[in-house]
Symmetry: C2
Subunit: 367 residues, 2 copies
């Protein structure tokens, strides 16, 4: 009952935010008023930079700011697509972060980010359901001679059902991102908590590793050569996870998927290691990377994998979209059963990948 009341309060708060009021972005630093998101999804920025000659916001395009009566720089952008977007300020021509915003690792740098709420959509929000944990797990890698960090989501019941073992999904980030992306930008812990609570997804462990590895003896041919990282996953990461966590440590209970570059990695690693994985996904990236020799895709894969899942956003660049769509056609022509999910109206961005995880996770580990 108490739970229902909380849920109602939170839903009410959510709708009031979306429908009626101008609100400080949830991605702002605590206590920072700007940027503010308007009900029509335009965004109002205000920046203190009294000595600058020119200030602009770079959020899906450049929006020149002007000084208000108080001397602060201001602009209201056109309406933004819902979801999470990176942005920056351009001060006298130099792109920098907005000090009012939290910072997110994307595009190989720390960037400001803004969350544009979606009306009546709450699958990635913090709801009144039992919460799992995200754990920082460090492990020594003999292959790379370095300490590596991964984040591990454990489901809400993990520390109470101590005799239970769980299936594991390896969930990879994209190029220029790192092991924090799926938690901070992706809100994967809310997506998983909510799916598990409503009974849509089975409780599972999700491992978010750092998808780059340099092994001294291995020279990589291109960014799509995953030889080194595959060795780390197979020889070090999986054994470490299976020893530290109560996993179901076999191919029937192990999946791998990733976004963009992580999607190419997932497909490459899974194809090479069918004794290790039987559930497979790629969001905005799947199959082998561009310029590589493609794997052989034929109907025999239907026996090797319980699920093959690919996805893309309908607003991705024609080139990005074509990569996934062409791979979908290859699979269709080869008689390979798979799910092809298209996220309506989203680009090569986190809302595409949140939606993809939301579709993918409920299909996992069910036969």
């Amino acid at each position: 009952m108490k739970k229902t009341i909380y849920a109602l309060c939170m839903a009410a708060a959510l709708f009031s935010v979306n429908a009626f009021a101008q609100e400080s972005a949830s991605t702002n630093i605590i206590g920072k008023e700007y940027p503010k998101v308007n009900p029509d999804r335009t965004v109002m920025f205000r920046v203190d930079a009294p000595t600058a000659k020119s200030v602009a916001v770079d959020l899906g395009g450049r929006h020149q700011m002007t000084r208000n009566a108080a001397g602060q720089w201001e602009v209201t952008t056109p309406a933004q697509t819902p979801g999470f977007h990176y942005y920056g300020l351009i001060i006298d021509g130099v792109k920098v972060s907005d000090p009012n915003s939290q910072q997110f690792f994307g595009g190989g740098v720390m960037q400001s980010g803004i969350e544009i709420p979606e009306v009546a959509v709450d699958y990635y929000l913090d709801k009144d359901v039992p919460h799992g944990e995200v754990r920082m797990q460090r492990y020594w890698s003999e292959l790379t001679k370095s300490w590596r960090v991964c984040y591990v989501y454990v489901p809400p019941c993990y520390d109470t059902n101590l005799s239970e073992r769980y299936p594991v999904l390896y969930l990879l980030h994209g190029a220029g991102e790192d092991e924090t992306g799926w938690s901070t930008q992706g809100k994967m812990y809310n997506i998983m908590d909510n799916l598990i609570d409503e009974g849509s997804a089975v409780p599972m462990i999700v491992v978010m590793d750092h998808g780059v590895a340099n092994i001294p003896d291995i020279k990589l041919a291109s960014m799509f050569d995953f030889t080194a990282y595959e060795k780390v996953v197979i020889e070090e990461l999986i054994p470490m996870i299976d020893s530290k966590y109560r996993t179901l440590a076999d191919r029937e209970n192990r999946g791998i998927c990733g976004l963009s570059l992580g999607g190419f990695q997932s497909w490459t690693i899974a194809m090479n290691n069918r004794d290790k994985f039987s559930w497979l996904g790629g969001f905005s990236g799947s199959g082998k990377g561009p310029g590589t020799t493609p794997d052989l895709y034929d109907a025999s894969l239907n026996k090797d994998f319980h699920l093959m899942f690919i996805s893309t956003g309908t607003k991705e660049s024609p080139q990005m979209y074509a990569t996934v769509k062409n791979f979908h056609d290859i699979l269709v022509n080869a008689g390979v059963k798979h799910v092809f999910f298209q996220s309506a109206g989203t680009d090569h961005e986190w809302l595409t990948w949140r939606r993809s995880l939301y579709k993918f996770a409920p299909m996992l580990f069910k036969k």
Copy 2:
């Protein structure tokens, strides 16, 4: 044996970094070359900002940059104190973050930070010892009507010794920081792992909560009025931790300490709740906050607390230093047994607090 080899390799790497080479700062974004720390602890910065008229680095003072032959802005700062320091760039008079640096929450904003290595000091480094985990724990707060986040360190043995229960240290951050500070800037997980491995500290759980709470019905008199946060700690945080983790849930096995504002919070909360805590510390902040009515400190406290610990850096501002030193004198005059640790040559900064934790943690939960 393998462990010894790793340890030697890491020690060798450490000393070579410190003693002989100019190295990219460990706080840089992956792959970013600058800033670089020289063996004499001067720091070389290089920034791309072709359209800017003036660029300076703000790191313990303002260091004006000049353009090099390639058009990049450059400066080498004077030698820096070892440890972690926040810094920023000043571009045409506007203070912003350095895109080459990781970002840390301090002073109420996200800031760039730089780690200046200490020669032959490794207690806060990632060593080849069993690693605990830092877990993101969310909890619903009925008092504040909000989801709150804390980070919980569990010792290396936590998931293998399943019948074992552990004492708990509540470890608070300072003003303008948040629940991430002790992990990211403080490296508390390395400090605890290393102390536990060498047998200096007993395995314990460490809870790092967000030290700010707004309760609708409670009007706070000043930033040193901790009435609301104390209620959250006592009525919500401790019960949540004792229900979710295998704690020893009594005053004998519960400690509280914090840095700066968190030190004042710790002393205030512990004095008001002696049935809950028997181990107490304040780093660069202790006793009641300035402008408040002081608690009564007398020798009866020696029965209430197994340990009272206060600390300061010897290079803190005269006002900051005096706050702690005066409190030390008050305790001495009142016959209150306590440890007064002074960190040589450090300011109101993270190296003072890392050293304080390193001194404090081994004294905890031993009678």
